[in-house]
């Protein structure tokens, strides 16, 4: 198979459109979940966990930076502008990752929810793992290379969240109750997570990813296996808004206002 380099993808409008649509989903998911992770920094329930979660957040933003960097090379603008200046309607992240960590603001009276944070992150990690697994032989060479590298880190993220889920399930009725409650609540938001958006079939046809069915299937199998192992009910998710189509909740706008606050003071300045 003839692989596409950056230049080859950039030179062909249809290729460029398809690659960018997939990259927006990857980049925006990681940027926003990384932002939610950053909000926890210094506040995690356990100091060792603060260190671990800090690393995970940093890696998520590192991955987002890589994807935005590819978009910059494809000619979509400066990576920092793409990360900070795009409107909510232009974002393609899942509505699940934009939901807050809990009540309150990170600067004032945060009442963050650890069980929710872990379950939400777990689903994101399972989805990203399934998706990247379907990109390692992508026709777009820089993405295939990135997928292999990022998958190595995702293994640890997933192991981290799975360990917490098992611990919460096994410890006592209180921790189990919190896990079950979080498991129930994520279903209201997770409908657009394992979704490649309106161009999914085109990604597949172009060889950008493996079959959408197999990628989505891997996600569902892994989540079902976890539910079975922990005695949790099967997950039945709703899709209220579809983030892959640019439909978002107010929570995304709040996140964007915060993450771009300094940059927007003067996007042309050197920060």
């Amino acid at each position: 198979m003839q692989r596409w380099t950056i230049e080859e993808a950039a030179a062909n409008p249809e290729r460029s459109r398809l690659v960018s649509e997939l990259l927006w989903q990857l980049a925006d998911d990681d940027m926003i979940i990384g932002f939610r992770d950053q909000e926890w920094l210094g506040l995690a329930p356990h100091i060792e966990e603060d260190v671990a979660f800090g690393s995970i957040g940093q890696e998520e933003i590192g991955h987002a930076a890589l994807y935005y960097g590819l978009l910059e090379q494809l000619g979509y603008g400066k990576a920092d502008d793409l990360a900070s200046l795009r409107t909510a309607a232009e974002r393609r992240n899942s509505v699940l990752v934009e939901q807050p960590n809990g009540a309150g603001h990170y600067l004032e009276s945060p009442h963050y929810d650890w069980a929710w944070t872990i379950v939400r992150h777990y689903l994101h990690d399972v989805w990203e793992t399934a998706l990247l697994g379907g990109l390692t032989d992508s026709v777009f060479e820089p993405l295939a290379d990135a997928a292999g590298k990022i998958l190595r880190e995702k293994r640890y993220h997933l192991a981290h969240q799975e360990l917490w889920m098992r611990t919460m399930a096994a410890h006592d009725p209180d921790s189990r109750g919190r896990l079950e409650d979080a498991w129930r609540r994520v279903q209201a938001w997770a409908g657009d997570l394992a979704d490649l958006g309106p161009s999914g079939a085109d990604f597949e046809a172009a060889g950008l990813c493996q079959s959408v069915e197999s990628i989505v299937g891997r996600y569902h199998v892994r989540v079902s296996e976890m539910a079975g192992a922990l005695g949790l009910p099967a997950m039945e998710c709703e899709t209220r808004q579809n983030g892959r189509c640019g439909e978002h909740t107010e929570a995304l706008q709040q996140a964007l206002d915060t993450l771009s606050e300094v940059y927007r003071l003067d996007p042309t300045a050197n920060w």
């Binding site: 603060d50 800090g54 940093q58 987002a64 990360a83 919460m168 919190r178 300045a269």
Partner: protein
């Protein structure tokens, strides 16, 4: 400690310290030495833990992807230092039946103080730069002195901490340089931050001794836990940073600041030491808010700590 009334064990301990031996956690040590170490190391640990919060305010708001990555790593390092140090303190407190929960309780009840600088407000992005560059710069000067500390586990932890702080200083300096070389708005933001931080930076080293060392200082010097006075450390800070600050085109908000060309001694306007005492007793501009933030989330996370402390085996 009146050295003429020492027991043989105490005399042998001091002899070890005098010849530069390093003391390990399981070695016999006088209770007074243990207390001095716990006082110092627990204070250092909670200062790292509370010290993450002022900069953390800017972590989700850092302007570019590069800055977002760097400042997340930086603040995570600070939390990591807190973890490393709290474990060193826990080993020392074990004979008293105490652990990190007691350290955190002492922080929340005000029995344990944390550094004055972390009680200050951080209203702009430039504060994140000034903390990284000059607060961490001041911290390395203090901690560098303790690398030769007689207590080996603390010296080893500091070795790693000081190495990482070296990167933090570069990170902070890089933020400050970008602002100093930037637009008028960016330069004004940086100058404003320096104006606000200058007194707190001088306070960081503690009041000048005026040839009168406190009992704690004398003991710590005797035990080779520390080797320099507050004023010696502050003088070092001036020598290292004043010219660098000027070279960025910034004005230090002290018209009296100058160095004697012969003695190399800096003269400067004293900060308000009464204000310093109010700040470190948790009456600083952000003391209550940050302690409230940390203690609320700590209490709300109690169930999580319980889960891992006594968890059955999980597969």
């Amino acid at each position: 400690m009146p050295e003429e009334t020492l027991t043989d064990q105490e005399a042998y301990f001091l002899e070890r310290v005098d010849r530069g031996d390093r003391i390990e956690a399981d070695d016999w040590m006088p209770e007074d030495y243990r207390q001095q170490l716990v006082r110092l190391i627990a204070m250092h640990a909670v200062s790292e833990i509370m010290g993450a919060l002022p900069e953390k305010e800017w972590v989700p708001r850092a302007p570019t992807l590069y800055r977002k990555l760097a400042i997340t790593a930086k603040v995570q390092d600070e939390v990591g230092h807190g973890q490393l140090l709290i474990r060193v303190a826990e080993d020392l407190m074990r004979p008293w039946g105490k652990n990190r929960e007691d350290v955190m309780d002492d922080l929340f009840t005000g029995r344990l103080k944390y550094h004055n600088v972390f009680h200050m407000a951080t209203p702009t992005w430039a504060d994140a730069g000034v903390i990284g560059w000059l607060v961490d710069g001041a911290a390395v000067i203090t901690q560098g002195m303790s690398l030769s500390c007689s207590y080996a586990p603390y010296a080893r932890a500091l070795q790693r901490i000081v190495e990482e702080e070296g990167f933090h200083i570069q990170h902070g300096e890089s933020i400050c340089m970008a602002l100093a070389e930037g637009t008028p708005m960016q330069r004004a933001m940086l100058q404003d931050a320096l104006n606000r931080w200058w007194p707190a930076l001088l306070m960081f080293f503690g009041p000048p001794e005026k040839s009168q060392l406190s009992t704690h200082q004398l003991r710590n010097i005797r035990y080779r836990i520390r080797s320099k006075t507050n004023e010696e450390l502050r003088q070092r800070f001036f020598s290292k940073y004043v010219h660098r600050i000027w070279s960025l085109g910034l004005t230090i908000p002290d018209p009296t600041l100058q160095q004697d060309p012969f003695t190399k001694e800096w003269t400067y306007q004293q900060p308000d030491w009464d204000e310093f005492r109010r700040i470190v007793s948790n009456h600083g501009p952000r003391s209550e808010a940050r302690l409230g933030l940390r203690s609320t989330t700590y209490q709300e996370g109690e169930w999580v700590r319980r889960t891992i402390a006594l968890s059955p085996a999980v597969g």
